[in-house]
């Protein structure tokens, strides 16, 4: 998954487990950027009686670096509060929920959003309502309207939403973690000597019909880029979840008590960075650090383990990649894509996501590049400069893009004499946005309406 359950410790703490980050120039409001951080992975829609919700004891941050040092210059911080109308019923709702203030809705959640900038923390809004989870036709029959009610427009041109959405990330989870057995290429897999898989098969979206909890904010570009005429239009974005250091189970009160300062327990910038590149023994450490500390992880980017595995799993399919790996050459292409941004002159004279020499995993977005009129889900690999790794849109096929990059298709950007294997530009887990049942939206918050628990799983 992009970052779902990607590290041993955070996989046991779903409400603090970031799953995806998106950052893009809003296609319908091109003077704004939309930033989305998803949490609580792999939600079965039929999640009653205690439906999914944000953690009241977690502080969720969306961070922006606008001067290239891998440290936050701007942070949008979200704190949640759950309210229970009637503690004497076991029900989430006692009748249809027709509005966000419905008396039938027993367990509601609200949040405060704050802006931290220039050393000053200011509350932008509080008591903002989340929507309920999508329960089913009797409880939340007009769910799209309920979700729309939870889109809040704040002074200064900021729009926010926090609540359940349809999972927009698509990935053949079952095949990838069955020893990298990509279904479209399973006949080429070494199969460990087993006589299986004689022909290619289409991918299966392991995240289909599942929900996530999204924190989405849309802000004017002028509020997030570096100030002044000399400021770069490129921003680096990542999300963090933070918990207090000490948790004590108070058996008399029947609840946890938390003490001490908040400390980071989850981080996500580029998709799959921690999941695929950072080794298992360091994933939770990585989750606790800011991007500015990523130099210590740089070798996992410049010499990714997956590049070596591809040739082992698919014998003879990636001979040029195998030679590249054997040479020990550092993958400066991956370093640029993931850790510094792509300097001008590599793709074109004007295209850049470069933020400077500080090695830091951030989702970099050049806010001066307008949305594509005909987006390509392969982003930059598909010739679409408005897509990943220039930010990330909700429909971008980041699994295929990163598979192909690691397979060597982007290495000629820094080593023109290198010829990628033919398979490098074909490798995929076999999915597209059509693998997501709930359609993406054309307007904020862009991720599809959450699946309901009555009809899903189908």
């Amino acid at each position: 998954m992009s970052s779902h359950r990607e590290a041993p410790e955070i996989s046991k703490d779903p409400v603090a487990d970031s799953t995806d980050v998106y950052a893009f120039v809003s296609p319908d409001q091109p003077n704004t950027v939309t930033l989305i951080a998803n949490y609580i992975p792999l939600q079965e829609p039929a999640g009653g009686p205690n439906f999914y919700e944000f953690g009241d004891d977690v502080r969720y941050d969306i961070n922006i670096d606008n001067n290239g040092d891998g440290k936050a210059d701007i942070t949008y911080s979200f704190k949640f509060e759950t309210q229970l109308r009637d503690p004497d019923t076991f029900l989430y709702n006692t009748g249809p929920i027709l509005s966000l203030d419905s008396k039938n809705w027993n367990r509601r959640q609200f949040y405060t959003v704050s802006l931290i900038s220039g050393g000053v923390e200011s509350v932008l809004a509080s008591k903002l309502a989340c929507p309920p989870c999508n329960i089913g036709p009797l409880s939340t029959g007009n769910y799209a309207t309920l979700a729309d009610e939870a889109v809040h427009h704040l002074p200064g041109g900021t729009t926010v939403f926090a609540g359940q959405r349809a999972e927009g990330f698509y990935v053949d989870l079952g095949s990838i973690f069955d020893l990298g057995n990509l279904r479209p290429f399973e006949n080429l897999h070494n199969k460990f000597g087993m006589h299986l898989f004689n022909k290619p098969e289409p991918g299966v979206n392991g995240a289909n019909r599942l929900n996530v909890h999204s924190i989405a904010i849309q802000v004017p570009i002028s509020q997030v880029v570096a100030p002044g005429s000399g400021g770069s239009p490129v921003i680096g974005v990542w999300t963090t979840a933070n918990r207090q250091k000490v948790r004590v189970w108070d058996s008399e009160a029947g609840e946890n008590q938390n003490f001490g300062p908040f400390r980071q327990v989850s981080r996500l910038g580029n998709p799959l960075f921690n999941e695929v590149l950072v080794p298992l023994g360091k994933k939770d450490l990585w989750n606790s650090l800011p991007p500015s500390k990523d130099k210590k992880f740089a070798s996992y980017v410049t010499n990714p383990g997956l590049a070596g595995l591809l040739n082992v799993l698919y014998p003879g399919v990636f001979p040029n990649l195998a030679a590249l790996v054997a040479s020990g050459a550092a993958r400066a292409d991956l370093e640029a894509i993931l850790l510094t941004g792509i300097p001008a002159g590599i793709i074109s004279s004007t295209f850049t996501t470069f933020t400077g020499p500080v090695l830091s995993d951030m989702l970099r977005l050049n806010t001066s590049i307008p949305p594509a009129s005909s987006p390509n889900i392969l982003g930059l690999l598909g010739g679409d400069v408005a897509g990943f790794p220039n930010g990330r849109r909700v429909f971008d096929d980041v699994v295929t893009i990163e598979l192909r990059a690691i397979a060597g298709v982007t290495y000629p950007l820094v080593m023109p004499s290198y010829t990628p294997d033919g398979a490098a530009s074909l490798v995929t887990d076999g999915l597209t946005p059509d693998s997501v049942k709930a359609p993406y939206l054309d307007t904020f918050p862009y991720l599809g309406v959450a699946y309901d628990g009555f009809h899903n799983p189908a």
Binding site: D61, N63, N66, N67, D69, K71, A72, D73, I74, T75, S77, I116, S117, G118, G119, V120, E121, Q223, V224, V225, A226, P227, G231, T240, Q244, K245, V246, V248, D250, Q257, F259, G260, P261, F262, R263, Q264, P290
Partner: protein, 123 residues
């Protein structure tokens, strides 16, 4: 918006951070917490502090390294006393290193005698 970097994304608070930027739970607040019979784990831990005055008189506070300042760490550490439950983690009874938590504050204390007293309370 500015390009000024924040300490871990948070502003400095109005409390009294030490030279490492770590807010302090002062000795006075620690004693105060003991005096008001702080609840939960602290009630047990600091129940014995009422008799630990002489030991605390020699308590040496040390900054909790690598813990940058955040706003929420400070305001609960304000004088005179934390009127909230206090949690103490005896990190190492042999060296007397203790972590003291209250609200969103944390401080590290070096006091072998206090650590020994606390350790004895749990047999």
């Amino acid at each position: 918006m500015t390009g000024n970097d924040q300490a871990e994304g948070r502003p400095e608070g109005s409390g009294a951070p030490d030279e490492q930027g770590q807010p302090r739970v002062s000795r006075r607040s620690l004693l105060g917490a003991a005096g008001i019979g702080a609840a939960g784990i602290a009630a047990g831990a600091f129940g014995g502090l009422a008799a630990a005055g002489p030991a605390l008189a020699t308590t040496k506070r040390e900054p909790a390294k690598q813990e940058p300042a955040r706003n929420e760490e400070h305001h609960e550490a304000a004088q005179p006393a934390a009127r909230e439950p206090v949690v103490v983690h005896v990190r190492d009874p042999r060296t007397g290193e203790l972590d003291v938590y209250s609200g969103t504050s944390h401080t590290r204390v070096h006091d072998p005698d206090l650590a020994a007293r606390l350790t004895r309370t749990i047999g």
